[in-house]
Structures are given as structure tokens and as C-alpha cells.
Symmetry: D2
Subunit: 354 residues, 4 copies
Amino acid sequence: MSITSTALVLRGPREIVLEERPCDDPGPGEVIVAPQVVGICGSDLHLYREGRIGDSILERPLVLGHEAAARVAAVGAGVTELKEGDRVIVEPGLACDRCAWCRSGRYNLCPHVRFMGVPPTDGLMASRVRVPARWVHHLPDELSDAEGAMIEPLAVGLQAAHEAGVAPGQTVVVLGAGPIGLMILQAARIRGAGPLIAIDLADRPLEMARRLGADFTVNPREASPVDLVQEITGGTGADIVIEAVGAAATIRQAFDLVRRGGVITLVGIASEPTIPLSTNRIVRGGLQVRSSFRYAHQHPIALRLAAARRVDLLAPITHRFAAAQAPEGFQFVDQHKDTVIKGILTFADGREGG
Amino acid sequence: MSITSTALVLRGPREIVLEERPCDDPGPGEVIVAPQVVGICGSDLHLYREGRIGDSILERPLVLGHEAAARVAAVGAGVTELKEGDRVIVEPGLACDRCAWCRSGRYNLCPHVRFMGVPPTDGLMASRVRVPARWVHHLPDELSDAEGAMIEPLAVGLQAAHEAGVAPGQTVVVLGAGPIGLMILQAARIRGAGPLIAIDLADRPLEMARRLGADFTVNPREASPVDLVQEITGGTGADIVIEAVGAAATIRQAFDLVRRGGVITLVGIASEPTIPLSTNRIVRGGLQVRSSFRYAHQHPIALRLAAARRVDLLAPITHRFAAAQAPEGFQFVDQHKDTVIKGILTFADGREGG
Amino acid sequence: MSITSTALVLRGPREIVLEERPCDDPGPGEVIVAPQVVGICGSDLHLYREGRIGDSILERPLVLGHEAAARVAAVGAGVTELKEGDRVIVEPGLACDRCAWCRSGRYNLCPHVRFMGVPPTDGLMASRVRVPARWVHHLPDELSDAEGAMIEPLAVGLQAAHEAGVAPGQTVVVLGAGPIGLMILQAARIRGAGPLIAIDLADRPLEMARRLGADFTVNPREASPVDLVQEITGGTGADIVIEAVGAAATIRQAFDLVRRGGVITLVGIASEPTIPLSTNRIVRGGLQVRSSFRYAHQHPIALRLAAARRVDLLAPITHRFAAAQAPEGFQFVDQHKDTVIKGILTFADGREGG
Amino acid sequence: MSITSTALVLRGPREIVLEERPCDDPGPGEVIVAPQVVGICGSDLHLYREGRIGDSILERPLVLGHEAAARVAAVGAGVTELKEGDRVIVEPGLACDRCAWCRSGRYNLCPHVRFMGVPPTDGLMASRVRVPARWVHHLPDELSDAEGAMIEPLAVGLQAAHEAGVAPGQTVVVLGAGPIGLMILQAARIRGAGPLIAIDLADRPLEMARRLGADFTVNPREASPVDLVQEITGGTGADIVIEAVGAAATIRQAFDLVRRGGVITLVGIASEPTIPLSTNRIVRGGLQVRSSFRYAHQHPIALRLAAARRVDLLAPITHRFAAAQAPEGFQFVDQHKDTVIKGILTFADGREGG
């Protein structure tokens, strides 16, 4: 027996439709969730535009979405910590819990992970979705559904600041002030960093960065980020540079911004397969180039920090679309990169907050 | 007043002579040392061949050498821990002791360091050299002068294994089995790593690597390092890869050898200004690319481990030259890369050991 | 040649006087500072009451004080980064800069340190004090002298949170809400911790703790801290407990408050020579008992965070005394433990701020 | 359906018998193992003597044993990595794999763990035992069954050296040279530590410690450990002290042996509920008191190091008993503390090695 779910299905590049799909009953340890608000992520747009992301290729129609606040609609056998009606968020990386990475606590690197909304695993932009209860977290009353949908990007930001080892009083540069860059910025601030410098080619994100705690912002079209950072640091360079764009130019620039002995952390996925880098600068500069991929153990922390109002999750949301207009929403967001910072889809009875 | 010193002076590419030079009396906190054995390092040869190394350019005649066992010949005012006749080694990186890097314990990154034997600072291939007592370490009776001269490369190896975070039971690949690679290998073994895999294009170094503890060796001309490591690790890849060559091919190969979530540590100085690398492999693989530059606080540890016979410092020494034949020695080493692993210069009364 | 300085001198338990003392000209690398505001610390009061603190015994009259904002009054030879009139703070632990601890960056553990205001080293409660320029930091314009005097206790708090490894979203308990406890609390909050729980036997400090960011406070005379923490953490216990009292009861209680695998960090100096502790609880609970002693490298961070208004340094200051009334001030603070949180002494022309 | 197993059952203090017990068929994910060699651990003896250990009380007859090399006798559904006849060892701490500790990689702290051979969970001293396949590791051909039985104590030693953060060239003191102390000693040596100092009240273990790598040994009945360590370290103290006795005297002595800023790691379970310790020594000495409880992720490392002959697992085995004489064996070991270092029980067809 099963119910039906209205799902937002990507059939091919820029070919996206609402579709009725069956949703099976929850098995043991599973729940059915009814998403209320689902964020449109850069990787959703990437898939929308190109039908692929990295090595993951759209080979059959796929339900998009991995940033969701939801309500529990049904619970399977053995699920005791969730009940129908609970307000929740879903952690979309369904790791195997058995490999060496999972067992050592680094489940973001699980080679067997099924990541919702990335081929071939269907995502959360649907009215009903079956998920393992193990990856569902309670959404505190203090937080709206829109905020709940932003917990996933905040988790990305927290992981990046954690991997970078951000500490109080450090000078941190964030390259890119899109939704992920803004979350990294706030995560760095939460860890006591400062001064914080945000760099972006567009002014609207920089304005938002200042609102969310950047002490300095710079648009490389108008001024030199390297000069600014040299000035701020008395010629030393930044303690930490976090790259959240994925462009060859920003990745290379990270090496010009960081101080001797500093840490560069890569978050952005590059479109170019290789980028020429100076390994001698790494060796002679005593640098570390780290990476931050998705997150592990960050959702409960993100929820706690959000509920305590240590972070502003609503400010980056510039556009909202009803689920019924989701296809048009994707089209709009795709065509208005300069004005949209973050778009979200709101389902039926979502408590949006804000 | 001053005495004279017979010094090995590099005047230009491949133009090297023995020269009498004045050696000033030791000032306060200084000592005069009489080097007994000085190793010929790859960077000495690089300078010899090209008259430059990295950004350091030979602009005036330079005394080479930074790997020395010596005797104390005279002590300046205020020097209490050393006396005439003491057997010592010299740590050649004269850091400033005042900058942020020095004061936080990372003196290998001191921007004000004067590194002996690298332009514009004269080195240790001379019969008498004035050095600050602060950088002179006692050489234990258990160790010969030849072993003393190898403490500096061992310190490089220990730093690399430290920066890489080598731990017991880890699979560690060392790319390059020259003198530095062999020290890294031994340092990794000292930290309990295993299996250890050494990779080199020449067979003699690989033979030496096996003798010094490599569990597996591979010459890429004969077999695929990637296949070997995949087989050893059951398809997972190495926990740690340490690059001690500096070639584009080996640096790129490091990324094919390391496991998801593993650590690459760069030690080799590359001749190419940039090397195309896949940043996506760093991000999606959860990798860290670290570096190891020179050493900080490693000489006392190196001396302790050597005195306890935890390491074999003499095995890599394949050629010895009397100081009087130093120019011919450089020429020989330069022309016999395939047979020479490590050459040393022995001065007057050196106790060579072995 | 020398000028005179009006100094607050402790001659014996509760015997404190203002005295004219000569102040020598600054030697090379030294400066003369004119303190403007000097905080009265718990350790000053301890010395005042008992004529000793720990192993440090008052054997001759001593100038107290180690928390000072000052102006530079004269500079010695070779001092280039400071000039007359500069607003500064003084880091009072004059470490040797040469021992293994100093050279590895842990100068707070220097066995040769001369700590100003602790026997036998005179302190900063004087109109003129000669200090090494190396330990003098610029006070930013944004900060008042009163705030400057609080940088030292903030550095203690930052070190404690650093040693404890406080991270975002962690439940942190601070035992003791006196001036140091309040700084630890703020430091933990700066690192993103929460919920934060403050425990104290007096209500005024707890009120202050709530104002400075404690999410929960508890007075053990009124409710059980263990019950509260169990409730907040769902029975797990706190991730980190920082002890800033030094009483046997609170030290023992730390073990009842911390979770399995958690970290206890001891800051408070105990009056009892030994305290019975359950080592089995440490072993079976997988605990770490760390310590935080003074600070290393924290003053620049403290100044930066204070200037960025990430911390409130003025709130804890409940009482101010002019230097001329310093003896009465000490008496007052000594006799009004319940109402005084922090008292400061203001010299001549201090810019108090607030 | 079930087969029978001959089990060594503890019925009460010093009341131990061989008993036939049913052994159920393996369920899904389970295997039946036939232990070949099982070590007699200090905790087995503690239970034997007192009928309790820590909070774990013998409330019903219990099969002892948690150090076992075995053969796989049958496999349950879904077990693919093991087959009948495989030589294996069993990791005896059956952690839940679901709690926060398990999921962060610290499964040794799992509050839901069932530890085999500790009440109320039956152990491995039996001819047939049902265990989850997840906790069974392959025993390499290079290792005998007797060595296999010693992998568990080696894992304890490796965990202790890991928790203590032992690094090359560090001075490490191990208090206690019983089977666990000897494994810690070897683990410290594997990580490059030295000099290594072993302390014990009996001479036979000290002799064994020297054989296994201790550079110095001292019996406190004959000489002062503190004097020895002061002499070895030039008055500084040991970098790391690992306590593997659990006596008040040795725990207190750890604080006299460690250097300023050093690390004490507690492994021994104390018989006294509390021990008076100087917390001021912790604070003023900048000490860390860590703990090491059982192990996490150490068995594969232990197997690898043992197979590579980096450790001597047979030397500590001084006595062997056939399973049929197990009750007499326990009695003998209990009564000959001075001559027995480690006793093992050999079942049927064990390949003992050595």
C-alpha cells in the first residue's frame, strides 16, 4: 500500500515538472515526512542547468532537493524518537553507518552514501518522502520552517569553519558571499574570528555579508583583495582563507591572501578539472590546504546555534515560491543570479517565519 | 683579531674553489666551530648547478654547506653550555627568535631566518665558522661525526612525518628515495607506520629503502605504484603520502595514491612554478595537502633517536671526499646521480665512524 | 638618574601603604609606563590577606598589581614600536624567552618567569613602572583605560576556553562567577558554546553572568547544579566543565557535571593542598582533566575581541577607587566580598570609559 | 537447535568450574567461534578473587575471558567476510554502534556496551561462543593463537599511548610492568618514544620490561624513581607518565615524575574510591591528566604491528594451562603473583606458536 506524493522532477537539463509519484509506507526504522519548506541550492541549479554535477549524472528523472524542513506524516516500526506531526529537518546524506569512515565519525566521507537530490537518489522537493529516522532531527519551536530549511547550508558553513580550525581573533577571508559563503562567514564569526573579510564579484551578496558580520568586504572589480588584506593584517596575510566559489581565479587568489603558516580551506566545487597551483608556495609558506565536504555531526549544533539566535538564517532568503510554481521558480532563480541570493519553495502548510 | 678559515666557496654555477677567508673572533653568545664532516645536500648541488635555489640567488661568492658535525674551537662571552673541544652539530637555520612564528614555536617559518649555506648567508663547508651558540647542539659520544652530519637531514625527515601526523599502523607512501626520502621513511617507521612503500625511478635508492625499512618498493618504470598501493590497501589507498621529489608527475601521483580523507604532505621543492592539480579531488576526497619546510625543535629528537640506534644514518652515505678534494667531490657527485646516494666531505681530524 | 614613583606597597598581611619609590631610567629595550587604571585581582586580595599566595611568600615590601592600562612615559634605547604618550597595556608575566617552554610557544609555563605583583617581583600599582617593551601592547582607541585594565583577566578567560577546547554548540559549565569566571564565560560564548551554565554561591555574580551570556545560572544553596545540567543535557552531562573557584566542593562537583568523554579544566587555585578525587571516574568516564595557567599569546586576541565589542569588560567593574585612596579601597573590597565583583584603582589622568 | 559448549564458569569468589552449556545457532550477522587460546587478564583475576570489578557485580554464574584467538565454527545469515575455519580474534567490547560515542568514533565509551567476560555478559573462556561478526577480526597467518590472544592487551597499550599522545624522542615513564604495562611500554616504543622508564615493585616484570625495550627500570624498594627520572631528564621530569597500576602511591607519584606542561595518563583501575591529589600542581604545572579506557579502532593496528614483528607478544606469557585444567590454572596464577607475568588457557587444537 502506498500514498501519492507530488514531486518536483528533473527530467533533463532545464526540463522540470511536478509529478504524482507513489510513496511507499515507511519500513522499520523509517518515517514519511511532509516537507514544508525546501531550499533551492546552488547544486540543484547546477543539476537543473547541466543535468549533472561532478561525477553524478542524471540518468533517469530525479526528484531534487536536500534542504528541507518537514513534518512527520507517518512512522515505521521501531521508530520511537519521532511521532506523527513532529516538526523536523532531514539530514540528506544517508551514510552507511558501517564503513571505516562512518565508524570513525567522518561519515561525510562515506563512499556508500546516498545523498538525497543527487543522482541517483531522489530528493526532498515532494509532498511526501520516505527517509530513515536516523537522519531526521527535531526542529525546535523557536525556529520557523524557512529557518529549518537553512540548517543544511549552515551545517556546511559550520563544517568548513571547523575543518579550517577557525579560532578567536583570527583574520578570516571568505571567498564568495553566496548562500554557502554567508553561512561560512557566520560560522567563522560564531567561533570568535575577526576581522572577517568577504570577497565577491556582486554587490548584493557583499551588502548581505556586511549585515551578517563581515568587518570588511571587497569586490575585486573595484579594489584589490590582496591589498586590502595586506593593509588589515599589517602585511602578514590572513590566518585562514576559505574558498566557497570554485573558480580558478579565487582558488589561486587564496594563496595570495593567506599568511605564512596559514590555512586555506577549499569548499567550492570547481568547474575546471585541474587548476595550476604553486606547490612551492605551499612548501615554502608552510601552508596547509584543507577541504570541507558536506558535514558530519553538524546538524544538532546548527539547530542549537540557530535556536539561540547566534546566526541569521532568514536574511539570505530573498525569494520564495509556492511549490505549485516550483518549475517557474527554478527558471526565475536561474535567470536572476544577480538579485537572488537564496530562493526557497514553500509547501502546503509551511510555517515560514521571518 | 681573527684567524683564517679554509672555505669551500661557490663563485658561480659549477665554479667552486677552496679559499682562505678570515674568521672573526666569537662575539658574545657566539662560538667558533671547526666542522669535521659536512654533508653535500641536494640543495647544495642545486646551487652548484644553477647558482640559485628558489628565490635565493647567488649574488656574491658563497660558502656552501648546512649539514655539519663539528668541534668547538672557541667560545665567546656569556656562552656557558659549550666549551672548546666539545663535539657538536650546528642547526643551520638561524631564526630571529622574536617574530610571531618564532615565539609560537614554528621557527622554521621565521621570515627573518638566515639559513647557512643559502644566499646570502655563508655556510659550514669551512675549517672555521662563527655561529650563535643558541643553534649549536652537543653530539653524543655514541655518534660519529659522519652520523652527526646526517642529523640535519634526519630532522627534515622527522619534521615531515610530524607534519603528516604519521601514526602506528598507517600505510605511508614516500615518493622519492633520495637522502631526504630515506630519512622520511625512517621517521615514518619510528612513528610506528606500516606498511611503508617507497617509490623512486632509480633502483639503488629503492634497495636502500628496503634496507632501511620499506615494506614495499616500486619503480614506476617497471610497475604501477597506484596498482601496488591499491593492492596493499584493499582498494582504499594510502593513509598518508609524502612527496619528496618535487616533480609534477610525483606531486600529481600523490593524489592517486592517497585514500579518501587522507593526508598528502609536500616536502620536495618543485622546479615548475605551477602544477595543475584537481581541487575537486581535494574537496570531494576530504583530503588535506600539508607541507613540511625544514624543521623546528627536531634536532634534539634526532640526536636522541640516532644515539638510541632507532635509525641508520650511515647506510645512505655512499661517497666520502676529503675537504682538500671538495671541488672534485662536487663534480663527481654532480656527474654520478645514479650511483651516489649521499656524499660527505671530511675535514682534518674527523671521527667518521661507520 | 631616576624619577620617583608613588607605589602601593604591601608590607605585610593587611598592611598596605602608598610610598614614594625611585624609578630608574629605562634601559635598552625597556620603557617607563604610567599606569592609569589597575584592577584589583583576587590574587592581590589573597596576598593582602595572607602575605602569600601558593609558594610565593611576601619576604619584603611588594608593589601589588598586574592588570594595568597605562601610558608610555619614556622609552629606552632600541625601542621602536612604542613612543611617549602611547596608550598601552602591560602583560605582567615577564617570561625568559629562552627556555624550552618559551621557545615552544607555551611561555605561560616558563619556570624563570617574573610575574609582576607576585613576590618577589614588584607590580603595576604605581605611578611609574619600568617594564620590558616586549611585554607592552598598544591599547586601541576604541577601548577605555578601564577596559584596558580588564584585558588581563580576559586573557585568563580566553586561555581557559582555549585549553578546554571549547567549540560551537557545546554545553559548558563554569564553576564560579567572579571576575575570572565571568571572563571564562564570555570566552566560551565567543567560541560559540551554548548552552552556558554559570554556578556560584552568590546571587549578584549570577545576575552578572546572565547579563554576560549565561543561558542558565544556579546557586547551589537553592538548587542542584547536577540536576539542572542533567535536565539541560537530557541526562548526558556537560561537554566541558571549567572550574574557576578552587574549592574542594566545586572541584569535586566538576566530576558530577561532566559527560562521559568530557573535559574538565581547572583554573582556580585551591587553598587545600590535596583534594580526594575519584581516579576511576576519570578512567572509566574517559575524562580529561586539563589545566589553564595564566595565558600565552592571548593579549592581542583579547584586545581585538574587546575592540570589536565581542565582550563586555566594563559590566563586572562594580567599584572604582582613586589611587590616593588605594589602601582604603583594598580594605573596602576585602570587607565587601558579596557586593564587589571587580574593583579598580584609577590613577591621575585615566580615561575610564564606560 | 543448539550445540553445547564447555565453559569456564565463575560461580562466586574463587569458585570456578567447567560446565557444559548450550550454545545457540548464530543469528543473522553472528558467528560461532571456537576459542583456541584465551588469556587470563588481571580483571579476570580480580573477578575471581572478589566476585566484582568496579561497579560490575557477579550476580549470576559468569563465563570469564575477553582475550581470545579462535576459529570460526559457524556463520549466520548475511555474514560474508568470515567463513568456517577462519582464524580470528574477538574484540570483546560489543558496543551499540548507535550512540553519540559510537558514531563519533569513541566506541570505547559507549554507555550501552556489553563487555564479554564482565558481568552480566558471558565471556570467551568456552569451547563455543556466539558473537556478532562485526567484532571479529581475521588473525594473520604470521601470528600464532597465543599471539592472537595477546592482541587485546596490545590494543589496550596502543590506546594508552595514543591517548597520551606519545611522540618520537619523548621521555615516557610507565608505572607498572605487568602485562598491560608491558604492552604500553611497547606501544610507546612503537611511537618512537625514548628514553623509556619502567617502574614496578617486582623484579621479574622489570627484567621483562628491559627485554621489551625499557631503557631504564627502577624498583622503588631499591631506588627512588623520582631521582632517576630527574637525573635522566636533567631535572625537567618526564614528558609523559602512564599509570598502569591503580594504586594510590603510584598515581600520586605520577605527579612527581612528570615535567611542567606534561601529560599523565591514567589506565589502572584503583581499588580506592578516591585518592588525594594536588589540583594546584595540575594548575600551576600546566598538566593534563588524561585517561585511557579499553580501546577503539586499535585491533586492526595491533594485528598489523604484531604481524610486522614490531612487538613481542609471546615474551610476557610465562604460564600456559590446558582448558581442562583451567580451574587449577586460575588458582595457580592467583597464588603466584610474583612469578606469573601472563598466563593463558589453551583449548583443544590451538596453534600456540612461540
